[in-house]
């Protein structure tokens, strides 16, 4: 009876939507359509990136302009590991985890002790240090040309067939999403959100703001680095562009589009963003102009993003009971 109650507490609209989405993504592989699978892979990778980003942005209320750093660390650690140490994509992707963990802790020590404004600027500066190091350390990173030939076929796994790589990404995607869902439901998820809602009260309740922020940053950094690692294996190429701050601002835009205060917001944002960049951007060259305008319109009129808009619609038509989007 107790277990059943625990289980019921875990189930809500989010997990149902998530499982449906994972199932749908699985179905896409059966169509065997190259372009759909390409888009779906990008959606999964950027979905992971945006969800990881939003732990910091939506939960802890910390605006980072340097997430390209973590993405880049993931991508470059896979590239360097598979090219120089052990030729296997799976081990390479797993290898990026401890590296990202270490990076997050260093970044945390440097940035988390100051206010939020400083955090935004410092993460920007750190990601630029990393970016210029990637360009300058030509012997290691290949400079602005980047690293090419990251193997899909390794000693342990062979991902060279598109379908196999697709499932490989899907497994990581599903595992990370379910992990984040558990975090969201857990006590720590609540504490991390408290960080964003009312930071000043946490010390009174006996929690260290710094430690909690560090936890948020570490989770966010590792998840973002995993996205970067998958990205590097997917394209077999990695260039310093991924560490430039404008690239790191993309998950921010995704989180805002979807709704940063919703668990699934960044994922919804990633789906919209990737679909738009891969289809519309081909025809409308200056689509960033529209993106900027959309961003401002959202900040001025609906800060809840798409999900917030849907929720207010549901509220208007008294559908709230059926649409339990909220945390």
């Amino acid at each position: 009876m107790y277990m059943l109650r625990r289980l019921r507490a875990l189930i809500d609209g989010n997990i149902i939507a998530l499982l449906l989405l994972i199932g749908l993504l699985g179905l896409i592989s059966f169509t065997g359509h190259r372009f759909y699978m390409y888009i779906a892979t990008l959606i999964m990778i950027f979905g992971i990136f945006a969800m990881g980003y939003n732990i910091l942005f939506g939960y802890a209320g910390l605006l980072s302009f340097g997430h390209g750093l973590f993405f880049g660390v993931g991508a470059y650690s896979v590239a360097l590991f598979t090219l120089n140490v052990y030729r296997d994509p799976l081990v390479g992707v797993l290898f990026s985890i401890p590296i990202a963990l270490l990076t997050s802790i260093i970044v945390g020590i440097l940035t988390l002790k100051h206010g939020r404004v400083y955090f935004a600027i410092l993460t920007l500066a750190l990601s630029m240090i990393f970016w210029s190091a990637l360009i300058k350390l030509r012997w290691l990173t290949g400079g602005s040309d980047g690293l090419v030939g990251i193997p899909k076929r390794g000693v342990l796994v062979d991902l060279s067939a598109p379908t196999v790589f697709y499932y490989f990404t899907l497994v990581f995607f599903a595992a990370i999403m379910l992990g984040l869902y558990m975090l969201n439901k857990s006590r720590y998820g609540l504490l991390l959100r408290a960080l964003g809602t009312n930071e000043d009260r946490l010390p009174f309740l006996g929690y260290s703001t710094f430690t909690l922020r560090m936890i948020a940053l570490t989770i966010s950094g590792v998840v973002s680095a995993l996205a970067g690692a998958l990205y590097a294996v997917f394209y077999s190429v990695v260039t310093p562009d991924v560490a430039y701050w404008t690239f790191g601002a993309e998950p921010l835009v995704m989180s805002l589009i979807g709704g940063s205060s919703y668990f699934l917001g960044p994922l919804v944002g990633a789906i919209i963003f990737v679909s738009l960049t891969t289809t519309v951007a081909r025809f409308a060259e200056y689509w960033m102009l529209l993106l900027g305008a959309a961003l401002i319109a959202m900040i001025l009129f609906f800060r809840g993003g798409l999900l917030g808009f849907l929720e207010s619609l549901a509220g208007r038509f008294k559908l709230g009971v059926y649409l339990r989007w909220r945390f």
Binding site: A125, K136, A249, I299
Partner: protein
């Protein structure tokens, strides 16, 4: 390393620092008074550059195009403040940053649309391109002009802030906007004015840069980071601090480049990270 090249490098640093200062000044003013981190600052700076390019190629009058570029950029800034930024004052800092980020995206893309994706460049006016030869490197009058402009802007800002009635009002708003409003100061007007001045200064800086760097897409993304770093090292909102830090960083980094050439762009970021590690609120920050 001989003394001449050292001195020349220091002079170049002085001029680089002055450029950093002109870039950072508007940002400091806007943050200090309006309390908004203007992410679009570099976008305005580059707008100034493009406007300068256009007007200079049509009129070939340096001073006139400089002034026109400055005023138009300031006017654009004021329009942005009235239509967008004013609405987000009451929101959290994050949303203010994001609103200006949106403005930056629009501005960058609009620039590509108007001036194309290539780089634009104008040559230094005849009279200013001459100069003194020091140890193989020519220091021209244009560099001197920039150093002098920087110094004049610093003096003008200090004088304006401390010895005029509008400056007094601005400082009052800077300290305590609510109290100032209670005392009958039109804070809205002050905000718009500061935004106008800040972006106009950015436009001036941008206009002065065109003869030195070829201006193109992506420059703003790069410059905003430099500007932020100067401001953060100085401490947010400190005008004197920003001037000193900009000059110091300029001189220091150009001398360091002489010693360790391969560090070039990294130096600035490393200095910033180190200083913030030991002095979180910057060298001249309050709190």
């Amino acid at each position: 390393m001989d003394l001449t090249s050292f001195l020349v490098q220091a002079l170049i640093g002085l001029y680089k620092g002055s450029l950093y200062w002109i870039l950072a000044l508007g940002l400091v003013l806007i943050f200090g008074v309006v309390r908004v981190i203007n992410f679009a600052h570099a976008a305005f700076y580059v707008t100034g550059s493009y406007l300068m390019y256009t007007f200079y190629t049509y009129t070939s009058n340096f001073i006139v195009s400089l002034i026109i570029a400055m005023i138009i950029t300031g006017a654009l800034g004021a329009i942005v403040e009235i239509t967008i930024i004013r609405r987000v004052y009451k929101l959290e800092t994050i949303y203010q940053l994001l609103a200006t980020f949106g403005v930056a995206l629009i501005a960058n893309e609009a620039q590509k649309l108007i001036w194309g994706k290539g780089v634009v460049y104008i040559s230094i006016p005849e009279t200013l391109s001459r100069g003194v030869n020091l140890g193989g490197i020519t220091i021209n009058y244009y560099m001197a002009l920039i150093v002098v402009t920087g110094l004049l802007l610093f003096i003008a800002t200090i004088v304006f802030m401390n010895y005029t009635i509008t400056g007094l009002r601005t400082r009052a708003v800077w300290r305590d906007p609510v109290m100032s409003e209670a005392l009958g100061i039109n804070t809205r007007l002050i905000y718009t004015l500061v935004f106008f001045t800040g972006t106009a200064l950015a436009g001036l800086g941008g206009a002065l840069t065109v003869p030195l760097i070829s201006v193109g897409p992506g420059l703003a993304d790069y410059l905003i980071v430099t500007a932020f770093i100067i401001v953060v090292i100085a401490g947010l909102g400190s005008i004197t601090g920003a001037y000193i830090v900009a000059i110091l960083v300029g001189v220091f980094s150009s001398i360091l480049v002489l010693i360790v050439p391969e560090l070039d762009i990294v130096i600035l970021y490393i200095i910033a990270a180190l200083i913030l590690l030991f002095r979180p609120h910057g060298l001249f920050g309050e709190r």
